[in-house]
C-alpha cells in the first residue's frame, strides 16, 4: 500500500517539481477538508441551538468527523514518511539462564514458606472458607423456584375468566372462528396465566383428549397462550385450518387435537384449561391448566 503512494520518495515532501505540483493540490484538498469540518461543526452547534433535528445532527456530525478523518489521511499518505522499515524480532521466551535465575529466587522464597506448614495450611483453609461464605449472598438474588413454575393463579378455581379490562366473558361474546385472550379474574397482570379462548366450528372435527370431554363449553376451548417452546405468546390463529402459530419460532399447534404441536421446535401441546359456565352464564375455569405452562424445565414432570 505504501509503495503505491509516491514511489521512490522516502522522506517527506518530494523534491521533484511534478510531485510538488501534485503535493500542492493534495495540500489544498486536505486543508479544504479541515475547513469543511470546521464549518460543519459550527452548523451542528447552530442546529442544536435552534432546537435540534436528528437527521441534520447526524449528517453534520458525520461531515465534521469525516472532514477531519479525510484531511488527516491525505496528510499522512502524502506528506508523512511512508518508507518501509524492518524491525528484527527477538526471541519471546526467556533464556534458560534467566529461567534458572528466576527459579532459584522463587525457590529461595518458597523454602521459607514451606517451613511454616501449619500456617500455609490454615491460611489456605481460611481463604477457601471466605470464598465459600462469599457465595452465599448469591442466594439473595431470587426466590427458590418452587411450585411457581407449575402453577398459575387458576389454582384458585373455580374462577371467572376476564378480558384485560376485567370484564367477564359469556360464550356469546365469541364469534365462531374467533379467539380472545383472557386471564383469571383479579390476575390480568399474571404473565403465566394468559389464556386463549377459541370458538371452533361445530363441524370442524374437534377431538377432545381422553378425560377432557367436559372441558369445553359451547364449542369454546381454552389453551395456555404461552408457547411450550420458549414461552412466546402464541398469537396467530388460522381459523380455517384450526392451527395456532407462534410468531417467534413458527411452532404450530392443532387446536382440534388438544393443541398438539404439528410443526416447529415446540415438543409439547399447549396446556388446556377446563371450562364451565357459572350460574350467571359467564365462563369459568374449573381447575388449573392440564400441565405447567410455557417453556420446559428440568423437573417439570415431577
Amino acid at each position: 500500500m505504501t509503495d503505491l503512494v509516491e514511489p521512490g520518495v522516502t522522506g517527506p515532501d518530494g523534491a521533484d517539481p511534478d510531485h510538488e505540483e501534485r503535493g500542492r493540490r493534495v495540500e489544498l484538498t486536505s486543508a479544504a477538508c479541515f475547513v469543511v469540518a470546521t464549518l460543519a461543526a459550527i452548523a451542528l452547534a447552530v442546529v442544536y441551538w435552534q432546537g435540534g433535528q436528528p437527521q441534520a445532527e447526524g449528517v453534520l456530525l458525520a461531515l465534521t468527523l469525516g472532514g477531519i478523518g479525510v484531511g488527516i489521511v491525505l496528510w499522512a499518505k502524502h506528506f508523512m514518511p511512508n518508507d518501509e522499515v524492518a524491525e528484527e524480532r527477538h526471541p519471546l521466551q526467556s533464556s534458560e539462564e534467566e529461567i534458572a535465575e528466576f527459579s532459584a529466587d522463587f525457590a529461595a522464597g518458597q523454602s521459607s514458606l514451606g517451613r511454616r506448614r501449619i500456617l500455609v495450611a490454615t491460611a489456605g483453609g481460611a481463604c477457601a472458607a471466605l470464598g465459600v461464605a462469599l457465595l452465599f449472598p448469591v442466594r439473595s438474588l431470587g426466590p427458590r423456584p418452587g411450585r411457581g413454575l407449575k402453577e398459575t393463579p387458576y389454582r384458585n378455581a373455580p374462577i371467572r375468566v376476564v378480558i384485560e379490562s376485567g370484564v367477564p366473558v359469556r360464550p356469546a361474546d365469541l364469534e365462531v372462528d374467533g379467539f380472545i385472550t383472557v386471564w383469571p379474574r383479579g390476575h390480568t397482570d399474571a404473565a403465566d396465566a394468559a389464556t386463549l379462548l377459541i370458538r371452533y366450528r361445530s363441524d370442524q372435527g374437534f377431538e377432545p383428549r381422553p378425560g377432557r370431554e367436559d372441558w369445553t363449553v359451547d364449542d369454546i376451548v381454552a389453551y395456555s397462550k404461552l408457547c411450550t417452546h420458549v414461552g412466546c405468546p402464541v398469537g396467530l390463529y388460522q381459523a380455517q385450518l384450526g392451527l395456532l402459530l407462534c410468531p417467534c419460532h413458527q411452532s404450530t399447534f392443532d387446536v382440534m387435537q388438544g393443541a398438539r404441536p404439528v410443526f416447529g421446535p415446540a415438543a409439547r401441546p399447549l396446556p388446556q384449561l377446563p371450562l364451565a359456565l357459572d350460574d350467571e352464564g359467564f365462563i369459568i375455569a374449573t381447575g388449573d391448566f392440564s400441565a405447567p405452562v410455557g417453556p420446559g424445565f428440568w423437573d417439570r414432570g415431577r
Binding site: 468527523l65 469525516g66 478523518g69 524491525e87 427458590r144 405468546p233
Partner: protein, 484 residues
C-alpha cells in the same frame, strides 16, 4: 529537571525548548524516565495491509460506544415502575408503561441530540460486532492465531462473546415489545439448562419471568461490568500485540524473524487517527439518517402480546435461527426433561465457542506444527483450514437466514414450513458442499501460483531495498526485574 537523558522527539519537530509541551515532557521524564520507552513506541513498526485494520475498526466502534453510552446513561432510568406517558410522542400519550420505556421515549423525543446519540450507539454496536466477526475471520484464515498468538486468540474469543452478550443486554433494557420478547427467550433458554436451570433463571431474573429485577440488573451489567471487563481484555489484547509484534504477509525482505512496515510515528499514528475519525463519521451518518430500533413503533412490553417478524439484532440471528430450525425434540425420562431450547440455545452455543477457543490447539495437534509463526498464510496455502472455515461460515449463515424464515416467507409469498424444512436440510448439506468447493478452489489457485500448499514459503530477499535499523532490546526490562 534537566537531567533527563534525551528529549522525547527530535528537536526540529518539537520546536524550541521553552514550548509548554516540551517542558511538560521533560517534567514527566525527570520523574518517570519515559523518554526511552516513548522513543521505542514512536519507532514501533506496523505492517500495512487493509485486513489489519479490521480489529482496529472494532476498537474505534468500542470508543464510540463508550462515548455515546455515557451520554445515554444521563437520561435513561432502568426502572420497572409503572407510569403514564405524557411526553411529546402523541400516539402513546396516556399509555401505561414502565419508567424504563418512558425514559427511553423521552431520550428519543424530548432530549435534544438524544435520538441521534441513541441511534449512533445502536449502529456502533452493530458495526462493533461486524468488525469483530471479520477480524476473527481474518485471523483464522491467515493463521495468525498460531504460536505464539494463542493467548490473544483466547482473549479475542472472549471479547466476541462479551460483545455479543452486551449488545443483547443493551437492547433488552428499553422494555419495549421486541426486547421483552428477547428477554423471555433468554429466560427460557436459561430455564432449559438441566439440573440448575430453574435456579439460575430465578437468580438472574429475581423470580419468574418477567421478573421484577432483570432490567436494573442488566443495566449494571451492561454499563459497568461487561464494559470494564472488555476494557481490561482489550488492554491485554493490545499489550500482547505490542510485545509479540505484528504478523506480516510474506513478501520481499519479510521473514519469520523480522517485521516490515511503517513506523508508528508519525505516519501510522496519523492514519490510525484518521481511521478513527472516519469510523465515527460513518457511525454518525448511520445514526442520523437510518432509523434503528424504533421502540415507539413496537410499544411498551406486554407479556401477553408479540408482534410478527420479531428478529434480534444481527449478531444473535444465528442463535434465533437455530431455535427455529431445531426439530421439535426433547429428552424426557423419569419425570425429568431436557427441553428443546437447550440443544440450540446452550449446547450449540457452547460447542461453537468451545471449538473456537480450542482451534489453535486442535490445529497444532493435527498438523504437528508447534513452531512459532510470524509470517501469515494466504488462505489458499492452507486448503483444509480454509475449507473448514468456509464450511463453518456456511453453517452459521444458514442458521442466520433461518432466523428470518418468517420474513422470507412473507416477502416471497412462500410457506414458512417449506422454508424451515429447506433450511433444516441446508444446514446439513451446505457445509460439506461449501467445504469441498473451497478445498478445490484453494488447490486450483495455489497450483496456478506455483506455490506448494501447506509448506513453508521461501521468500526471495532483495538486499538493499529495505533499510534495517537497530531496535532497542525489548526483553531487557523484564529480565532485569527478574534478576534483581
Amino acid at each position: 529537571m534537566s537531567d533527563a537523558p534525551a528529549p522525547e522527539t527530535p528537536r526540529r519537530r518539537r520546536g524550541p525548548e521553552h514550548l509548554l509541551t516540551h517542558r511538560l515532557a521533560r517534567w514527566v521524564d525527570s520523574r518517570l524516565g519515559t523518554a526511552k520507552l516513548a522513543r521505542t513506541t514512536l519507532n514501533k513498526v506496523f505492517p500495512d495491509h487493509w485486513s489489519f485494520m479490521l480489529g482496529e475498526l472494532g476498537l474505534y466502534c468500542f470508543i464510540v460506544l463508550v462515548l455515546t453510552g455515557v451520554y445515554l446513561t444521563f437520561f435513561f432510568d432502568p426502572s420497572l415502575n409503572q407510569v403514564i406517558y405524557r411526553g411529546s410522542y402523541a400516539p402513546l400519550r396516556g399509555v401505561e408503561m414502565t419508567e424504563a420505556f418512558r425514559s427511553a421515549l423521552e431520550l428519543s423525543f424530548d432530549v435534544r441530540a438524544g435520538l441521534v446519540m441513541r441511534q449512533i450507539h445502536h449502529w456502533a454496536a452493530l458495526l462493533f460486532l461486524a468488525s469483530l466477526g471479520v477480524h476473527l475471520a481474518r485471523v483464522f484464515f491467515t493463521g495468525a492465531f498460531r504460536r505464539p498468538r494463542e493467548l490473544n486468540w483466547i482473549i479475542g474469543c472472549t471479547l466476541l462473546i462479551l460483545a455479543m452478550l452486551n449488545g443483547l443486554f443493551g437492547y433488552s433494557l428499553l422494555d419495549d415489545q421486541l426486547s421483552g420478547t428477547g428477554l423471555r427467550i433468554v429466560y427460557s433458554i436459561t430455564l432449559s439448562i438441566p439440573l440448575v436451570g430453574t435456579w439460575l433463571a430465578s437468580l438472574l431474573f429475581g423470580g419468574e419471568f418477567p421478573g421484577p429485577d432483570i432490567i436494573s440488573r442488566l443495566y449494571v451489567i451492561h454499563i459497568l461490568l461487561v464494559p470494564a471487563v472488555i476494557v481490561g481484555l482489550l488492554t491485554a489484547h493490545l499489550a500482547i500485540l505490542v510485545r509479540q509484534k505484528h504478523t506480516h504477509f510474506s513478501g520481499p525482505g519479510r521473514r519469520e524473524d523480522n517485521v516490515v512496515g511503517e513506523r508508528m510515528w508519525p505516519t501510522y499514528a496519523a492514519k490510525a487517527l484518521g481511521l478513527f475519525f472516519l469510523t465515527s463519521a460513518l457511525l454518525a451518518f448511520l445514526g442520523g439518517v437510518f432509523q434503528i430500533n424504533p421502540i415507539w413503533i413496537y410499544g411498551p412490553f406486554d407479556p401477553a402480546e408479540v408482534s410478527a417478524a420479531s428478529q434480534p439484532d444481527w449478531y444473535m440471528g444465528w442463535l434465533d435461527g437455530a431455535l427455529r430450525i431445531m426439530p421439535g425434540w426433547e429428552i424426557r425420562a423419569f419425570g425429568f426433561e431436557i427441553p428443546n431450547p437447550f440443544f440450540p440455545g446452550v449446547l450449540l452455543a457452547g460447542l461453537t465457542f468451545g471449538l473456537l477457543y480450542a482451534w489453535p490447539f486442535l490445529e497444532a495437534r493435527v498438523t504437528r506444527d508447534h513452531a512459532e509463526h510470524h509470517l501469515l498464510d494466504r488462505p489458499r496455502q492452507r486448503p483444509v483450514r480454509t475449507a473448514l472455515g468456509m464450511a463453518t461460515i456456511s453453517f452459521y449463515s444458514v442458521l442466520f437466514l433461518g432466523g428470518a424464515a418468517d420474513v422470507l416467507a412473507a416477502t416471497f409469498g412462500l410457506s414458512v414450513n417449506a422454508i424451515l424444512w429447506t433450511f433444516r436440510f441446508l444446514c446439513l448439506l451446505a457445509p460439506p458442499v461449501v467445504g469441498w468447493v473451497t478445498y478445490r478452489l484453494c488447490k486450483e489457485l495455489s497450483a496456478r501460483d506455483g506455490v506448494p500448499t501447506a509448506s513453508t514459503v521461501t521468500v526471495r530477499e532483495i538486499p538493499g531495498r529495505l533499510r534495517h535499523r537497530e531496535e532497542p532490546k525489548q526483553a531487557e526490562p523484564e529480565s532485569q526485574a527478574l534478576r534483581s
